[in-house]
Symmetry: C2
Subunit: 219 residues, 2 copies
DNA sequence: CCATCCTGATTGAACGACCGCTCATATTCG
DNA sequence: CGAATATGAGCGGTCGTTCAATCAGGATGG
């Protein structure tokens, strides 16, 4: 939780508070103007502190980006489990989680896009931290889906692929919002995708035809 | 094809040639270092021309980015139709197109990521040009899928949603390559996704259960 | 209870480096 | 020779980062 980001200030509460200010301001600015167009001065101004002070709580401008991205991913990991904790049945849990995931992405649409835009601007090791955090979140979904599989409600598909299909379905709502927003509500978007995902698109004729065109599934 | 990017040079062939050099160099540099970390000097150096000359063929650094992104999208639009032109049967055409699309994305993986990273760095109107071009490419796939629908090989799903599912499946191969590369080959990835897409994931039990959990599909 | 001191937090001016873009000049070629 | 094309030094501006100076507030001692 307290990240491997160094600070010269000892007082933990103060560090928490100041970083909170910095991250809140930086998220807003990065999301609208991008990482490179945002200056430390901008961040300091919006956070209500001086430029110099930021460097007591962070070593780099890149560190600010790391803190922002970690905060976004933490948001996912925090809000997801709450959505299905009351539900006993695995399939119900999975569906609640998927719908919740889409809602979380929708609420943080700009921040989600920011993650795609700027994770690559991080140095190798900082990027690895972010990717690991993403995997942890996806693991939550992956586990739920595995349980559906053992329950016999979904067939023996590759869970990794399935998980990423769902994750990308949610992310795409943010990434392609410029297209979807005038055509679907979030709920319509999600339910159409679930319908596709669960039933598939082929008719009986189609399924027969596909048998002649498919390639073997190896792993 | 010749874009709404201004040049002070008259000779059309020369413009084509110089822009080719510039775009090739810039694509390489943008893809590895990002738009903002790449300098005009870098581009000029790799293209084998002087900094000043770039501004005879382009008004802005942003213009270079626009040319690069248009080139990537043109690549899609050019290579896709070739993949299915010999095939008569709509379903076969659609499948050939999907597989080809994934291969094109794979070949231009870094450039595809670049598009996601930096389209937002463009000014409003230049971004609109890019988004339009993307829609045109997707339209190729959309048409193929509509034909499958009238052929009765796929059921009456929303073609917009289906198209974007497939597009994002291909893009995800690039976006999440850091995850997939150690787990699947491109072909495995695609075939698993097609299997999911075509047959759906639910078992018969699952389908019955889903009836109680689904929400109505409006549009 | 106040004056003094000290430590850690905070400020913002300034440094140094960088970079997009221009323009006076050079080169090329018909 | 002259028009079109090409060069690259340099201008003007920006921005990340540092650091000497200031401030706050608690401890100390009279």
């Amino acid at each position: 939780m307290t990240y491997q980001v160094k600070s010269t200030v000892e007082d933990t509460d103060l560090v928490e508070k100041r970083r909170g200010q910095i991250v809140t301001a930086a998220t807003k600015l990065f999301a609208t103007n991008g990482f490179f167009r945002t200056t430390i001065k901008d961040i300091a101004g919006l956070a209500g502190i001086s430029q110099g002070l930021i460097y007591q709580y962070v070593t780099d401008k890149e560190d600010v980006l790391l803190l922002v991205l970690l905060d976004v991913l933490d948001g996912y990991a925090r809000e997801l489990p709450a959505a299905f904790e009351g539900i006993a049945d695995p399939f119900g849990r999975a569906i609640a989680a998927i719908r919740a995931y889409a809602r979380v992405v929708d609420r943080r649409r700009k921040a989600t896009i920011l993650a795609y835009r700027s994770t690559q601007s991080l140095s190798e090791n900082r990027r690895a931290i972010i990717q690991n955090r993403e995997l942890e979140t996806n693991q939550i979904l992956g586990t739920l889906l595995s349980e559906c599989l053992t329950e016999g409600v979904i067939r023996a598909v590759n869970v990794d692929i399935l998980t990423y299909q769902i994750v990308m379905m949610a992310h795409s709502w943010a990434l392609k919002h410029w297209y979807f927003k005038s055509r679907f509500t979030l709920e319509q978007y999600v339910e159409h995708n679930l319908d596709l995902l669960f039933h598939g698109v082929l008719t009986e004729t189609g399924k027969a035809r596909w048998e002649g065109l498919r390639k073997p599934l190896l792993p």
